[in-house]
Structure formats: structure tokens, C-alpha cells
């Protein structure tokens, strides 16, 4: 979890749901976090602010896990480190 992009996503989710970041991993699902539609748009707002990117509505629709978010952001952020994207375990 040293990947800065993963850390950013975890930090954003931790802030939105008011949970300790240690409880969030790449495999955590939105359902486990109790994310609803308003939480999701708030998370996207946090990520757009922190990463200085614009996340299109369409790209945001299919995300269900932390990994989905990280994978989706790879394509949007120039400074993401690609080698950590597939280190699933």
C-alpha cells in the first residue's frame, strides 16, 4: 500500500466515511464501507481535488471496489506508478 495513488484513494475514502484508513484495503468493497450514491459523488469530489484531475461521469459509474477506483484513476493521472497496479496480493 505504498503506492501514492492507492494511499490517496484510501485517504479520500477514509475522510468521506469517517473511518480509520487502516480499515481500507485495495479489496475493500463500497458495500463493506456502506457507500451510497452521495458518498460516491463526495469521494469523486475529494479525488478530483487531491489529484487535480477531472473524472468523467461515465468513468465513475461502474466502480464498486477500492481497486476499481485505483484502476480507473491510472488512466487519468500522469504521475501514477503503473508497476503496482497488478500486485493483487
Amino acid at each position: 500500500m505504498s503506492d501514492p495513488l492507492v494511499q490517496t484513494v484510501v485517504a479520500a475514502l477514509a475522510e468521506v466515511k469517517h473511518v480509520p484508513p487502516e480499515r481500507i484495503t485495495l479489496d475493500t468493497t463500497f458495500a463493506e464501507l456502506g457507500m451510497d450514491s452521495l458518498d460516491t459523488v463526495t469521494m469523486l469530489f475529494e479525488l478530483e481535488t487531491r489529484l487535480e484531475v477531472t473524472i468523467p461521469d461515465e468513468a465513475a459509474k461502474s466502480v464498486r471496489t477500492v481497486r476499481d477506483v485505483v484502476d480507473g484513476l491510472r488512466g487519468l493521472t500522469a504521475n501514477a506508478s503503473p508497476q503496482t497496479a497488478s500486485s493483487a496480493s
Partner: protein, 406 residues
């Protein structure tokens, strides 16, 4: 519980993306013509959506002298123009005791937020360190009600209801109850909204519910709401008084029902809307089978349309398959606090003309929205009664029931 008086709609007025008055608006509604187009009043370069349902060709100076205009935000201008039309249409001239016995009820979600936005731009961006002295009276959400009261010298009950997208239905419903119960002898009721400012559009963008193209309620490929603006107003009076003076009776307001989801700020339920529809039918003494048309809330979001479909099926049972259900937001956009009022005008005129306006921009049916949504073309139908649904963010539901004139 029914009061003793029946309540007639004897005047209608509208300003919308479909036209500058009720006749133009109805003409577009009955032809299935959408008013959705590129947004012109706000620079959309930095926005993820480009389209809206703006009122076009509205020149305030045609309606107000320059001194009066200084006091009027766009949303209050719309309110006055539509209320003037409704009152003129009713043929009533209010004077004497009736002035004290006339209620004014307006709905607005946002008040004069274009004025507020412009003031904040001056203050924060331009560093003017001052706000215009008329900012407060222009921005207040009750400006429409106050301006209508002042213009026509109406000294009876007047107030504004702000319940987001249900504002106007709550306003018309309460005005109806006032007339029915005999607390007043006349009401001018409706709502207005002017939501097109840069900051407000950015706030909608962040919610990710605005369609990047058009509004396709109940279609499988629907992509969200299209914001609209304008005003709608009705003149409500006791049926016997309307008949005694030989007034044109467009329809009766038959009932009003409300409920609260008590669930979530933005996620709809089907149980809350169903309870509001049942309450409206009960208040109207209408059986479900008497209803031929439902003007749906029908926002065109992924969430609303299936939830509303389930609610309609729950309330109407097998009769749901015989109902015409359309969302006129596909044409006049989602006018927020004015939505219920524009849809009330549409529903009243549907009963009056025996024509159901369609759901425009329809492509293919979503199996989760498997109602007769009157796709793309208006339909001539003999209607006995109709409902008009409004379901607000915050879970506040308001449903009006109308009956065709006898």
C-alpha cells in the same frame, strides 16, 4: 377528509422553455416538442454538460418598467408574468373584500440565486467589498409571493413553500386546501425558478445526475436530468362561485397528498411516493380506476424512474397497465421549485383538451420502467382524473389530483 367546497381551476399561466405563456407552452407539450437546447445564459466551457431548458426570448423590459425591474430577480419576474397571465385568464378582477379573502402561495427551491451569485462574484472575485442594497429583497425565496400580493393588492394569506423539487406542488396543494376549507375564497398558486448560474450549475455537475445530452425519462439509455426554468400559476376558486359567474373551468383540483420518505437525502424510495399518491386519491375521493393519466415526476435519472414505476404499480395494481404516464420534464426540463407548477399547468390542460402530452426523446423501454409512457407523440384520451407527482430531494413527496370538469 373532504371539505364542503369543490375547487375549480379557472386560470392558467406559464413561462417555460416551451413558450412565454401557457398557450405556447401547451402547443409545444401537445406536439411533443422539447425546449432542451445549448445553455446560453451561462458559459458552459468548464462544465461537463452543455444543455438546458432555458426560457428563450424573454425580455424583462416588455413586462416591467426599469424602476420595478431593479427589485426583481429573474425568478420573481417569471412568477409575476405567469401569475398575471393566470389572473387575466380567469377573467377575475379582485377588489374589495375579495382582496382580503385571496391567498397567494408560491413555490421556489432556490429563490433569487442568480442575483446572489452575481453579488458573490463581485464581492469575492472582484473584491468590491460590498453587496447591492437590494440583494436581500431580490434573493428572498418569498419575493414572488410578495410581488404578486403587491401588484394585485392582495392582503389575505400569502406565503412561500420551499421543498426543493416538490415546492410548487406543496404550494398548490396547500392553497387548494385553503379554498376548499373556506379559509379563503380565491387563491393564486404556483411557483417559479431561475437556476441558471455558473455556481449552481457546477453544484449540479458535482452531483453527477445531469445528462450530457438530453432528458429521456423511462428510456433504457436515460442519462439524467436536464435543468429547466420558468413559472406556472393557477387561479383556484370555489366551483360554485366559478359556475355562478360563468367562468371557464379548466379542471377541478380534487385532492392533495403528502408524505416523507424519512430515508435518504437523495435516494428515492417507492413507498414514500406511493403513500403520497394514495393520500391524494383518498383526499380526492377518487378510486384508482378513475385516473387515466399520471404526469410523472420522471426526472430521467437512473434512480427515480424505476422507483416511481414501482410506486405507480403499487398504488394502481392492474390498472397501472391502463394508465397513460408521461414525463413532461422531457420537454420543459426539470424546473426544480417550478416543476410542479409547470406540470400542474400541463395536467390541467391535458384534462381540458383531452390530450395527454408525451414523454419526448424516448428511445427504448427500460424493463424496470414498464409503463405506458406515451412515447414521443401526444395522445387524445377522454380523461376523468389525473395525478401530478413531485418527489423532492430530502424525500418530501407531494401529489396533486385533478378531475376533468363535469
Amino acid at each position: 377528509m373532504n371539505g364542503s367546497r369543490r375547487v375549480a381551476v379557472t386560470g392558467v399561466g406559464a413561462v417555460s422553455a416551451l413558450g412565454r405563456n401557457a398557450a405556447e407552452t401547451w402547443s409545444a407539450l401537445s406536439e411533443g416538442r422539447s425546449g432542451i437546447a445549448r445553455i446560453e445564459s451561462v458559459d458552459t466551457a468548464g462544465l461537463r454538460f452543455r444543455n438546458g431548458a432555458e426560457v428563450r426570448g424573454f425580455d424583462p423590459s416588455e413586462h416591467f418598467d426599469p424602476v420595478r425591474l431593479d427589485f426583481l430577480d429573474r425568478f420573481a419576474q417569471f412568477a409575476l408574468v405567469a401569475a398575471r397571465e393566470a389572473l387575466a385568464d380567469s377573467g377575475l378582477r379582485i377588489s374589495g373584500d375579495l382582496s382580503e379573502r385571496t391567498a397567494v402561495y408560491t413555490g421556489s427551491s432556490l429563490g433569487g440565486q442568480t442575483t446572489e451569485d452575481a453579488g458573490f462574484v463581485d464581492l469575492y472575485r472582484r473584491g468590491t467589498n460590498r453587496m447591492h442594497p437590494l440583494s436581500i429583497p431580490r434573493v428572498m425565496a418569498n419575493a414572488g409571493a410578495s410581488q404578486i400580493s403587491m401588484e394585485f393588492g392582495l392582503t389575505g394569506p400569502a406565503c412561500t413553500i420551499s421543498t426543493a423539487c416538490s415546492s410548487s406542488n406543496h404550494a398548490i396543494g396547500h392553497a387548494f386546501w385553503m379554498v376548499r376549507s373556506g379559509l379563503v375564497d380565491l387563491a393564486i398558486a404556483g411557483g417559479s425558478e431561475a437556476p441558471f448560474s455558473h455556481a449552481h450549475l457546477k453544484a449540479w455537475e458535482a452531483m453527477r445526475v445531469v445528462s450530457p445530452d438530453t432528458c429521456r425519462p423511462f428510456s433504457a439509455d436515460r442519462r439524467g436530468v436536464i435543468l429547466g426554468e420558468g413559472a406556472g400559476f393557477l387561479v383556484l376558486e370555489p366551483l360554485d362561485a366559478a359556475m355562478a359567474r360563468g367562468a371557464r373551468i379548466y379542471a377541478e383540483v380534487a385532492g392533495f397528498g403528502m408524505s416523507s420518505d424519512a430515508h435518504h437525502l437523495t435516494q428515492p424510495t417507492s413507498s414514500g411516493p406511493a403513500r403520497a399518491m394514495r393520500a391524494a386519491l383518498g383526499d380526492a375521493d377518487l378510486a384508482a380506476e378513475q385516473v387515466g393519466y399520471v404526469n410523472a415526476h420522471g426526472t430521467g435519472t437512473r434512480s427515480n424512474d424505476p422507483a416511481e414505476t414501482r410506486a405507480i404499480r403499487d398504488v394502481f395494481g392492474p390498472h397501472a397497465d391502463k394508465l397513460a404516464v408521461s414525463s413532461t420534464k422531457s420537454m420543459h426540463g426539470h424546473a426544480l421549485g417550478a416543476a410542479g407548477a409547470l406540470e400542474a399547468v400541463a395536467t390541467v390542460l391535458a384534462l381540458h383538451h383531452g390530450v395527454v402530452p408525451p414523454t419526448a426523446n424516448f428511445t427504448t423501454l427500460d424493463p424496470e420502467c414498464d409503463l405506458d409512457v406515451v412515447p414521443n407523440e401526444a395522445r387524445a384520451v377522454r380523461l376523468e382524473a389525473a395525478l401530478s407527482n413531485s418527489f423532492a430531494f430530502g424525500g418530501l413527496n407531494a401529489v396533486l389530483a385533478f378531475r376533468a370538469p363535469a
